[in-house]
Every structure is written in C-alpha cells, then in structure tokens.
C-alpha cells in the first residue's frame, strides 16, 4: 500500500511502549499492532486524533504517502 504508517518511529521518538500507548489511547494491543505493522485497511479520525494527542504530533508524522514501485 502506498500509505506508510510511521507509528513505531513516533513511539521511539517519544520513548513510549506499545502497552503504554494502548492504555493511553484506549485501543487494544492487537488493533495497535495491526496499525503499526501496516496491515490496517482504514483508520478512524477518532483513533488518529487520540494517537496524535498522546504522542503530541501531527497526522503527517504518523502517515506518509510514497509512490508505489511497479
């Protein structure tokens, strides 16, 4: 998929573990893992808002668009 999720990068910058983020954004570990590994097909605005609030960042810091190599 041309949309890359940089959640792990932001988590590393904020020195936050997946468990801690999961508790703070009120998402299950499995759902966060789906998002982190790029398996997610869609993300709700409410989820994005919660992650941005906890990690103190912009949506663009988490999501990135790259052209697909054919």
């Amino acid at each position: 998929m041309p949309i890359i999720v940089n959640l792990d990068v932001m988590m590393a910058k904020r020195k936050m573990s997946l468990n801690e983020l999961s508790e703070k954004v009120d998402l299950t570990l499995s759902n966060l893992s789906i998002l982190k590994t790029g398996k997610a097909k869609a993300i709700r605005f409410s989820t994005l808002e919660a992650i941005c609030k906890v990690l103190d960042c912009q949506p663009a810091d988490i999501l990135e668009y790259t052209k697909e190599i054919q």
């Binding site: 998402l27 966060l32 789906i34 998002l35 398996k39 997610a40 097909k41 869609a42 993300i43 709700r44």
Partner: protein, 177 residues
C-alpha cells in the same frame, strides 16, 4: 426475531435433507431398474418417475436405452447432490458472521451443479433425441421445463459473488482501527 430466523434456518435445513433423501431414492430406483432390465426387459416399464417410451427404445436398441437412462440418472444424482449441498450450507451458515469463504465455495459449487443439470437435461438430451430420431425413428418429447435450472444457476452465482464482496467488507471492517 433472531430466534425466528434460526428456526426458519433449522426447518429449511431439514427440508433440504428431506429433498436430498427423496432425490437419492429416485436415482437409486432408476439405477436398480437399469440393472434389473438387463435380466428382465419388462422391468423397464416400471421405471420410477420417467414418462418416456423407454420400453420401445429398449426393444429397439440397448445402447440408446442405456444412454437415455444414464442421462436421466445423472440428472437425478445432480439434483440429490444439490439438495445435500443446501443442507451442508445451511448447517455451516452462522448468522453472526454469514460471510465466509466456505459459504462462497459452496454457493459456487451449487451454481455449477445447477448449470450441469441444465447442460445434461437440455443440450445433451436434445442431441440424444436428435440422434435417436435419426437412427430409430422414435420421437421423444423435448423437455423445455429444465431451462429454469440455468436461471437458478445464474441467480446462485450472483449470490456467491455478493457473498464474496461481503467477505471483503467484513475483512475491511475488521482491519479498521
């Protein structure tokens, strides 16, 4: 409402099983008649649920008679198989998560069975009667009532494609965080 739907599903499941058993009895008896007719040709007159002049064909040529019986039995076998597939489908269908790959595969197989029934009872039968008339002069009535199976196959195939799309939507929903 939920209980009502489950009750309808259970009743339909056993009705499908009943249909399967009925069709199995039909093709079983036709097969027995075919085997018994080799010993005593008079048995041909008692072929179950076949209103054709089979005795006349048997008297004329055993090859044409066997061919007619094979076509008739294969249609009955496929109809029985179709009923058993409905029974299997209704047994495996879960109302909480109705869209699954198993259901799609079963629906596609059911569509293929219905298409095969139409192929045998329409195209093969018409070819057979044409050659029978050419070779022996015996004319058999052409069955036009079996065209509904082609329509049914089409409808079931469309339903299977809708279920396929349902799986995609279900997966998309599960992968939305």
């Amino acid at each position: 409402m939920k209980i009502k739907t489950e009750t309808i599903l259970t009743v339909s499941k056993y009705l499908a099983l009943l249909g399967g058993v009925g069709c199995s009895i039909l093709w079983g008896s036709q097969l027995v008649t075919l085997i018994a007719s080799f010993i005593n040709p008079e048995w041909v007159k008692h072929t179950y649920q076949v209103d054709l002049n089979l005795y006349g064909i048997r008297e004329h040529s055993i090859g044409f008679y066997v061919c007619a019986m094979i076509l008739t039995i294969s249609v009955s076998v496929l109809k029985a198989l179709f009923w058993y597939k409905i029974f299997e489908l209704l047994s495996e269908l879960k109302l909480q998560t109705p869209f699954s790959r198993e259901v799609v595969i079963k629906l596609e197989r059911m569509a293929f069975i219905m298409f095969s029934v139409w192929m045998i009872s329409s195209i093969f039968w018409k070819t057979y009667t044409f050659y029978l008339t050419q070779a022996t002069g015996i004319q058999l009535p052409i069955r036009n009532t079996d065209d509904e199976y082609l329509f049914m196959a089409g409808i079931i195939y469309i339903i299977s494609q809708i279920f396929k799309r349902g799986i995609e939507l279900q997966e998309e929903n599960q992968l939305t965080v």
